[in-house]
Symmetry: C2
Subunit: 452 residues, 2 copies
């Protein structure tokens, strides 16, 4: 049989793993610098944890795991498809890292020290139809703090974005807004009951433009005068952050949600006064974020030099763990889009050249006897921290050099009877072609200096 | 609703993640020192890749993923359970790392440089009933080389075991044997057709003793005289490796499989002559290994100071990728039992004390104004590589010290109006109770010296 991979999934070769680790390591060390600590949750969650948390669409895209044993017991042939799925499957695959985090906090809040700061870098699964840059198995990198109301958390999350993208060498813009201002907008429009529709439409502003948004809102029953107000509002998404703040302050006047949202944003900026940033923070009036659970500041990261969707996003939520019986725990968090970050770094050639942790030197012996000589030599080199391969099979020396070449191993040490007699080994640098006769100590010194 | 975890799965807290990373990092760096490179495969595999590869038992324990869309289309109510499962599920969860590896080699052998050396550290899933030390989601750490016949690979895998367990500080015995000698035994007994039954019974020798083995073999039709021969054979599992080699050489005489197996073992020992080992290699006549695909040398690792099953095992296989249409690729590999290694290290208290990558210093400010002062200070400390938390919410200074205490943060810096005026900050060492007034540079020096 001809083997294949499930559609939307990937194998990662050594080179790809090295590049992915480079991204994760940078993000992780920034998280830890801010006092965030790792959490890992299982790939499987109970369907009772997952169902209904991601809307209709999410329920459709969830991967479900068939029950062990007699999964057909008490099966109802007349039930609908949804009920049948529920009967057949008690467990499913993790769909994001937010719900497992909320589930963990709800299960462990008695032991957790609050505020609880965690990060999580793990794969998730969604049954979307695969396309370029979209996979069914992909990684998320989330960082969240729960149990703290202070806008300092928002300010630090912006710093985390700034430092991580700087270290990854991706130039970005950090978009900031606040959901309370969307609430205020719906109130100014006297349509607070249409908050979600308003949010969802404005969220698409980037893609469908003002005409698209206007069309959607008209269909939702917004009158011409109201549309003009929304257009006025969105048209002020330009100038400095200070100019936008002034406009918004006038626009919302005494509206309580407006005041609150603007105070929160001002608070974040205050915390960051005098703090050096590599990337610009943009107050973005058109930022809305699709997810329903955000209630305060919201974030999105966009690459400056690449045509690609957002590289990350997040926001504050006030009642996430209530889903699992633990109300009134506020939290705020952001996510890094690891797959898109990888694609941007590939496109802009941003990966360092020396990422691989491949073999540094190949020992190539002339015959079975010199092969035995190679083993204790390799042990010595490895004890010095050098990554060594001994070419194990008998074959022509030329073939051994080809192997080193194809695997990009930078040095080859040839071992024959001369070498064993004198203890001086021929070290060949495959990049320069240079050859030198060295003893073991000299070889270690030479290779450690190269530090591949 | 009260949230819960699927039975047999676990969340890993920061402390557990740190300990698990400690194990994985050591194993990984030893693998890389020997020229092995990482591979990662998807959690999901096609059922056509998984089915029938792990025996009846394995098929039963596989986790299957319900098809997306209308999974009931063309459903046959009269089909049996197995057929129904096959209809409902095209994909399943990875059951081990060996079959995905074989699938990867078969799919990519044209591009792979042979011999291909890879390691893989990823979770796998089995629907076993959970019990102490046995989970449904657990990690495997595999290292394999395919495309090389040389016994040097076997010798290096023993070195890898030796170095990894030394660095983990677990004292072990490295058991070595060869499947060709079990083949030879079945031939000497004139029952080559009973090779598998013989292997499976001897594999249980440790657990069920000679009487148990004899009973099983008698049921398989072995006569009294043949049982005496097996008893004689197993009774020589003592003395030095050299004594055992001499006994086996006499026992098998001119039997071709016997000669071959003994030559392979001798070859491994020759390669290791003069190579220092921390742990003993034991030629183990009772070692058999359950899995059917082994054809040459086999390995098993046992802890010296803990009552626990094997901490690892593996062996040579001659035709694994033939399952996926690529015959005649020999390979050899071993696995580390990460979960048991964790349990042994917990039991014997072998984890280093300074594993955590938690916060090193907490900035505790007296009021909202000094909180703003803390942000650029934190930025400076972080730029120096120090892990810093700023306590974000307004609360009594006592509560901030309690937080540091509960989170085991070793230092607290107090910031009030005095401190902001003079630039001299009070640094308190929570372990010693010692306090000192220092400027930013002095703080960085002090904390870097501690290097938590």
């Amino acid at each position: 049989m001809k083997p294949s991979l499930p559609s939307g999934t990937r194998d990662f070769s050594a080179e790809q793993v090295a590049k992915r680790r480079h991204i994760f390591n940078i993000i992780q060390s920034v998280f830890e610098r801010y006092g965030y600590q790792p959490l890992e949750t299982p790939v499987m969650e109970n369907m009772s944890t997952l169902s209904g948390k991601y809307g209709e669409e999410g329920d459709r895209l969830l991967f479900r795991i068939l029950n062990q044993g007699d999964f057909m017991k008490d099966f109802q042939p007349e039930a609908n498809l949804k009920q049948k799925a529920a009967h057949l499957c008690k467990r499913g695959l993790r769909y994001d890292l937010t719900i497992p985090f909320a589930r963990y906090v709800a299960m462990n809040h008695h032991q957790l020290v609050m505020p609880y700061k965690r990060y999580q870098i793990q794969p998730v699964w969604r049954g979307d139809s695969p396309q370029r840059g979209r996979y069914r198995e992909f990684y998320q990198c989330d960082v969240d703090v729960v149990g703290s109301k202070s806008m300092l958390n928002e300010a630090e999350l912006l710093q985390i974005y700034d430092e991580a993208f700087s270290e990854l060498k991706i130039a970005v813009r950090l978009h900031l807004y606040n959901r309370k201002l969307l609430q205020a907008l719906s109130e100014v429009l006297q349509k607070p009951e249409k908050l979600i529709e308003l949010t969802v439409s404005i969220d698409k502003y980037d893609k469908i433009g003002w005409l698209g948004v206007a069309k959607e809102l008209a269909e939702e029953g917004f009158a011409e005068q109201e549309l003009q107000l929304v257009e006025l509002y969105l048209s002020h998404n330009k100038g400095s952050n200070q100019e936008k703040m002034t406009f918004l302050s006038n626009f919302f006047g005494e509206n309580a949600s407006g005041r609150e949202g603007l105070t929160e944003i001002a608070n974040v900026f205050e915390f960051l006064e005098g703090v050096p940033f590599q990337n610009e923070i943009v107050l973005d009036i058109s930022l809305a974020r699709g997810l329903t659970y955000y209630t305060g500041c919201i974030f999105e990261v966009k690459a400056v030099n690449a045509q690609i969707g957002s590289l990350g996003g997040g926001g504050r939520y006030d009642n996430l763990t209530a889903l699992f019986g633990l109300p009134n725990i506020t939290g705020v968090g952001v996510s890094f889009g690891a797959e898109r970050i990888y694609d941007v770094m590939q496109e802009l050639n941003l990966f360092p050249e020396t990422l691989q942790t491949g073999t540094e030197v190949l020992l190539a012996s002339f015959d079975a006897f010199s092969l035995r000589y190679a083993v204790p030599l390799a042990k010595k080199l490895r004890a010095a921290g050098i990554r060594v391969e001994v070419f194990a099979d008998e074959s022509k020396i030329k073939r051994k050099f080809e192997y080193a070449d194809r695997k990009k191993i930078p040095f080859v040490i040839v071992i024959g009877s001369d070498e064993m007699e004198t203890g001086l080994l021929t070290v060949k640098d495959l990049n320069t072609g240079e050859q030198s006769k060295l003893n073991t100590e000299q070889i270690i010194k030479k290779l450690k200096k190269q530090a591949y």
